[in-house]
Amino acid sequence: MYSDRSSQFSIAGFLVILLVALAIAAPRFFDPRNLGDLGTTTAIAAIVGLGALFVIVTGNIDVSAGAIYGASAVVAALAANAGLPTPLVIVVAVATGAALGLVNAVLVTLLKLPSIIATLGTSSLFTGGLIAITQGGLWVVGLPDGFTWLGQGSLLGVSVPIVVAVCVLAIGAFALARTRFGRRFYAVGSNPEAARLAGIRSRAVEGSAFVINGALLALAATLTAARLGQAQNNIGASITIAAITIAVVAGTSVFGGTGTVLGIVLAAMLVQTTTSALTFFHLDPLWAQMTQGLLILAALILSVVQRRRSGLGLVPRLLRRKEAVDAR
């Protein structure tokens, strides 16, 4: 209803084609171990994408995502090594991410900076600050088993990150689609003036999007640190582009106001499968970034072409035709 269903169909179609091609070209890609790894990274990527969805839906952008991710991963790893119980580690890390998101929120909503400037600035503040505080290239290794279970263990046969992601995404989907709290993000993103006139405090909504994004980034970073059993401060280097790719490929309008969690899940699968396939063929990680850049462009161009051709996507167009018939 609120998003272009056809974009979800196209991602799903694309994904199927990719998987079939992989099945033919590299059957060993579907080795259970590799698939398990793919599932875990996809789950983590989807959490990152959900955060980006909140920010982009309100018409903003967060280019400090990688910095928040890196800082939270290091904080989580340090907390775990300091002997904190795992639940507390999660709380500490997520609080850190939310606090960094709050800095962005304050700059964008109270000080009224454009989000691109605010987050470009905080991106180097957070990264520089982290390296300065930890005095140089920090590499936290030897994380305790209790903590790495978060990333490597399984719950009822399903890997823990997938369980966490399913919970988080379900809550996110429910909140965005069914609650008054969630609908406000779309309202502010699609027409801030109308939202204000309807009594929505749009600045508070935009600000909370940044805080939620920070918290989700930190959660994803914690899972990644646990999965790898280590964390270093440049762990988030590729996250900013990945987050934006997932959100844009998911059909989230860069003008704000649209985007769904289902789209995010599909896009995360597509992006991670592509990345994983590149790694599988031993290609440089930079190729993964390039592919993500191309995916963003493809998604943007597709969305424009679709809108131009009909004003609507394929499926809504069919629905509309049916309505027209009914009306007759």
């Binding site: 952008i61 964008v108 000080l111 503040l125 801030p192 582009i241 106001g257 850049g293 462009l297 943007l300």
Partner: protein, 356 residues
């Protein structure tokens, strides 16, 4: 009021920043104020300064170009590969500039023809161009042609060549932006794209031209940078987008378009180059320098946003409204607005008008 603040405010802020920098840095290190040091600091900043000129034009039309660092990298490795293939040095340099302009054209067409926001387009092309640079160079470092030595290390009247090139570009750009109709149209496009379109001007071509200029100057910056380090590598220019956007914002240009000057950008480049140089002399590690750059970006952006209202309040005038931007409008891209079909641009237009 707008004209007054958009000219006076940058001058005041940049002037005091420059003064503060000079005082603090000369206290940190007595070597700072030596002419040779100042010249070398400015010369080192020439690539950034050259890119910042193109970025200013892009920001003037209400866009942004985050792909400049990757374009720089792609240009340098293209020059390296062309020279290795046996092309004469000047022709290799032309290849590099053409590659830069071509990248800019890709950005420009995506933004102007498809009506896409330049932030997202250039984030994507940033990744694509970086990947291409890696593909072209195979990841290895390529030597610069020997003929580039003068460009990198020569001097004219005691002024290092990179600085000479930067100042030449500045003068040409200044004439184009302040003295020609093209410049007027650029400002008009940033201020009110619809009016420009109704006046029968080619708004799309203007938009594209700004991105081509930004790409071309990124290529030129790559050429200069390559000459100063005598090599080309695909990871050159990383983080330049942050440094350059910082410079342009510190220089007083507004991301909403239509406000900003090349003089502001020139001064801001110098100030930031001197800050970095001073910190390096004082052995402040580079991550702290990054931190300072980020802080400078935020602090000056806040100053520009709030100073006019603050000044008005100090004078006891109540008729000047506080900053009108309640939504952060810049994700929507005024430069792209005219290219929108009505259905797609409705939302977007509402936002822009809310702001005004």
């Amino acid at each position: 009021m707008r004209a007054e603040t958009s000219r006076v405010l940058p001058a005041v802020i940049l002037g005091s920043l420059l003064l503060a920098t000079v005082v603090v840095m000369s206290l940190l290190s007595p070597r700072f104020l030596a002419l040779s040091n100042i010249l070398s600091a400015l010369s080192l900043a020439a690539p950034l300064g050259i890119i910042a000129i193109g970025m200013t034009v892009v920001i003037l039309i209400g866009g942004i170009d985050l792909s400049v660092g990757s374009i720089l990298a792609l240009s340098t490795v293209s020059i390296g590969v062309a020279a290795q293939a046996g092309l004469p040095a000047w022709l290799a340099a032309v290849v590099g500039l053409a590659v830069g302009a071509g990248c800019g054209l890709v950005n420009g067409l995506l933004v102007s023809r498809l009506g896409l926001p330049s932030i997202v387009v250039t984030i994507a092309t940033m990744a694509v161009f970086a990947g291409l640079a890696l593909a072209v160079s195979g990841g290895s470092s390529l030597p610069a042609p020997a003929e580039f030595t003068f460009l990198g290390f020569g001097r004219i009247a005691g002024i290092p060549m990179p600085l000479v090139v930067w100042l030449l570009v500045f003068v040409v750009a200044l004439i184009a932006i302040s003295g020609t109709r093209y410049g007027e149209h650029i400002y008009a496009l940033g201020t009110n794209p619809r009016a420009l379109r109704y006046a029968g001007l080619h708004d799309r071509r203007l938009t594209a031209s700004a991105f081509v200029l930004s790409g071309l100057l990124s290529g030129l910056a790559g050429l200069v940078f390559m000459a100063t380090v005598s090599s080309a590598k695909s990871n050159f220019g990383q983080g330049y987008e942050l440094a350059v956007v910082t410079i342009v914002v510190v220089g007083g240009a507004a991301l909403t378009g239509g406000a900003g000057t090349l003089w502001g950008t020139l001064l801001a480049t110098a100030v930031i180059a001197l800050i970095r140089n001073g910190l390096s002399i004082a052995f402040v590690p580079s991550e702290v320098q990054t931190l300072v750059t980020g802080a400078a970006l935020i602090v000056t952006a806040v100053l520009y946003q709030w100073a006019p209202a603050l000044v008005a309040q100090l004078r006891g005038r109540r008729d000047v409204p506080p900053p009108a931007v309640t939504e952060s409008v810049t994700v929507t891209d005024p430069g792209s607005e005219p290219a929108h079909p009505p259905a797609a641009s409705r939302r977007h237009t509402t936002k822009k008008e809310t702001m005004q």
